[in-house]
Symmetry: C2
Subunit: 144 residues, 2 copies
């Protein structure tokens, strides 16, 4: 579990298709890279400047898509490697996060951004570890 | 195929969970009513006042969730039965639409609403039928 590296996070470009009345935006297909299985899809809103950190899943593979606004993600692994990704409408990609990687995220757009997670297992508190936001120091404001 | 009735559309209430920094909003779990299989998840934006109509899937079961704004849906079946549903933040439910039902929708909130579909098969144009918006008369403006 501890040996997983932030290098294993997958970045997959997604299509936004221009349609009269409102665009269609791809998220994930069962045949896509990063798809493992379907357990649950849910949304997490993140207000401008708000930070949700830190969390690590022991079993769940996460597929993150941001169809509204923009979100800064910070990842770190137990080897001490760190990785940042900013995704949203201007960089419309999917992030696939294997289990074992710590992550936190911050909203970059007012009033809020919307994150969707398509996960391979349903929510289960028993497979989630938490750290308080100040248990891993990251200069969020500095980095925008 | 033609015999499916609009009465078969399933309405499932969803939870919005208050979280500091931004709420978590359920969409669909693999164990939920209405879940058949996972083929694809995608988004469709719908601008205020815009109408996307009419479409019928011959194979796909649709699971519609509106995490941004509000959307008016109109459904009809070949028996001539019609049904309306307005869903969104103020009525946060999931609609499950079996194959064989015609549908169209209209955006009710500025600048746009966001519809997510979690479908049991990936997108396949061969299983989709279309009618032009004026091929089935519905007084959209009248009904808001």
């Amino acid at each position: 579990m501890g040996a997983i590296s932030v290098d294993k996070i997958l970045v997959t470009p997604l299509r936004q298709i221009a349609v009269a009345g409102g665009d269609v935006m791809h998220a994930i297909k069962s045949t896509d890279p990063g798809f493992v299985d379907f357990g649950e899809a849910y949304f997490s809103k993140i207000k401008l400047g708000a930070i949700k950190a830190w969390k690590r899943h022991l079993l769940m593979t996460l597929n993150f898509v941001v169809p509204v606004g923009a979100v800064q993600f910070v990842f770190f692994d137990v080897q001490g490697e760190q990785r940042e990704e900013v995704i949203g409408l201007d960089r419309y990609v999917r992030l696939t996060i294997p289990p074992g990687i710590w992550f936190g995220f911050r909203g970059l757009v007012a009033p809020y951004s919307l994150l969707m997670n398509v996960a391979d297992i349903p929510h289960d508190p028993a497979e989630i570890e938490h750290k308080k936001v100040d248990e891993y120091i990251f200069q969020w404001e500095h980095k925008q």
